[in-house]
Chain length 354, copies 2
């Protein structure tokens, strides 16, 4: 099969880590006899600099015509302390999510034996944790309108909106993934306070009988923030709305101790986007020291989730495991031992696959 | 001085733990020659049962005429899986917050040497953590209108609203507390997405120059959720809006390992409320096993924050420290050693003070 891949490397370390993911996918593609056509496009701060728009129309066009998008990272420090900047890299991200209909952000959280000591949690709490966070990505307070200020500028407002259809789509996905895993679904909301959460619960409870084999629990978001730390192994699949998901998925990623190793997939109506969960890490840009594994694992998710090519994905995962065993790792996880460069890790992984 | 104290014991273990706090305050009051007049009133599920309203008018009247409110806990399991129940204990809590103008919820987070091993975090990360979370409590999406459903019932919406005045009031409090502590203030928002957060930042940046001795940092809420776990000692005073505060303060409380020991104060326009951060723990109700320390420490906060009686507060804290040293503790923190009952711990503390 021939697949069209849009490559959006973005800012900071984006280009370096995406280059390694391409090496690895090239090796996989060759081995299994697929054909990949890569096309690069601008996104983020670099797109603002070049064309004044963090998600240019040509980039969008390309994504719409691609079978999958491989994404690096966006963000630049010069925007960080200037929330009032007219055009911001994040706007590009939000525009991309909305225009591609990327309604579900999937983040598997799991641990790697050789990295578990890096977790801030006690080993026995987090060792073996393995769950999937599903965050709704195109609704809620991120996109609800009206948003703005009263005329005198002295009052600001945001609107959180969810339709039953939006909720049903993502909750169904939660049930389906739970069905493929350990058959437990945790639906996180704040139904004791929010009208939108009460609709989430209503819709979820309506769907529940269709999946009798799935054990469902409803959990308030404040409780979920605690349970993620005190008992992460209780989770299998967690599904939640956009803003709660923003907070909880970041919290979840950090407990594993493997932040630099965690990929994500954003499933869309038009195409899907695969990207590491970490940021653009501007201090490391151009230094060939960043950890490419999260991006490489995002490529593994691309094979599995976008193309249903499970063996291909599994081989990439195997390569990553072996590289950890062999100690072929970047400085962030080298623990004082020899550190390899970004491209050396990429080469090793591609080689292993060949 | 004579102080009027409203006692709202509430549900579950509320009455037992509040009784111990009263024993302790009685001992303090006697020792220092103050006079306390306690008046009890209904709140929570028990108030729903007796008068059909979780925050009855008489209770509100009493609070309005009191110098401080000592609060136990509310909530009953029969409401937990019924988000659609017409009258719910939480509504009483929200009504109380709004009507008493309890705009600032203060939660000191600190650790106790003898309990630090109970933290889910590695000891070196959390040992010595000592910070104050300040949560805005009467604004934001909890109270913003419109809230509800479209006519067809298929779309739900909530509104997050903040005025510059509401923001200024709480951010000022943050600066003031930081000034009394280690002079570092972290203001948590989501200014890259929300209009309300951008107003938070604008107002905060306007106030900043008035407090040149305070180091201010702005942090996105998703990052804060990570930093609380990876580096809790970086925080001194954190201030944030209502919903973010709900999530982050619960996350913060659990990392200390001392959940059963953490008090809170809700500072109000009309009066202030002092209560443990834990819930009504219905499984333990009536068994005389619940840990009264968080409530006793809430009473210490009452002396300090409501009446400016610092020595009185300090003596209560000393008593708590000594009880831990002496191993006079309830089963939740007894670690297999002899466990004392709720009332035995209260007696010991009152005795120590006398
Ligand atoms: C940059 C920001 C708008 C974005 C979000 O909040 O969604 C980021 O935090 C993320 O989680 O991808
Ligand atoms: C019960 C609920 C409404 C309440 C809140 O969200 O404020 C609780 O979680 C709290 O933090 O006091």
């Amino acid at each position: 099969m021939k697949y069209k891949i849009a490559v959006l490397a973005g800012d900071g370390i984006g280009p370096e880590i995406v280059a390694q993911a391409r090496k690895v996918t090239d090796a996989v593609v060759q081995k299994f006899g697929h054909e990949f056509e890569y096309t690069e496009a601008l996104v983020g701060a670099v797109a603002i600099d070049k064309v004044g728009n963090p998600y240019p129309d040509e980039t969008h066009e390309l994504c719409m015509n691609s079978d999958a998008v491989l994404f690096g990272a966006i963000g630049h420090p010069r925007f960080d302390n200037d929330p009032g900047a007219k055009v911001r890299p994040e706007q590009g991200l939000l525009a991309m999510r909305k225009k591609l209909g990327l309604y579900a952000n999937l983040r598997p959280v799991n641990t790697f034996k050789s990295l578990i000591h890096k977790s801030p949690l006690k080993t026995e709490l987090v060792d073996g944790a393995d769950f999937m966070c599903i965050r709704e990505l195109t609704g809620g307070i991120y996109f609800g309108r009206p948003q703005g200020r009263t005329e005198d500028g002295q009052t600001a407002y945001d609107t959180c909106v969810y339709s039953a259809d939006e909720i049903e789509r993502i909750v169904r996905l939660g049930f389906e993934y739970a069905g493929k895993r350990r058959k437990k679904l945790t639906i996180v909301d704040k139904a004791n306070v929010l009208a939108t959460s009460r609709l989430w619960r209503e819709v979820s409870q309506r769907i529940e009988p269709e999946f009798p084999e799935i054990e469902v629990e409803y959990m308030f978001v404040d409780n979920a923030a605690m349970q993620l730390i005190t008992w992460p192994k209780r989770f299998d699949v967690m599904v939640t709305e956009n803003m709660f998901g923003d907070i909880l998925t970041d919290e979840a990623s950090v407990i594993s101790g493997s932040m630099g190793m965690l990929p994500s997939a954003s499933i869309g109506v038009h195409t899907s986007v695969f990207e590491p969960i970490h940021g653009s890490y501007p201090q490391a840009a151009g230094k060939n020291i960043a950890n490419p594994c999260a991006t490489v694992l995002s490529a593994a998710m691309m094979f599995e989730y976008a193309f249903g090519l499970m063996k291909e994905g599994a081989l990439i995962r195997e390569a990553i495991d072996k590289s950890l065993e062999a100690g072929v790792v970047t400085e962030d996880i080298a623990d004082g031992k020899k550190a390899y460069s970004t491209s050396e890790v990429g080469d090793w992984l591609a080689n292993y696959i060949q």
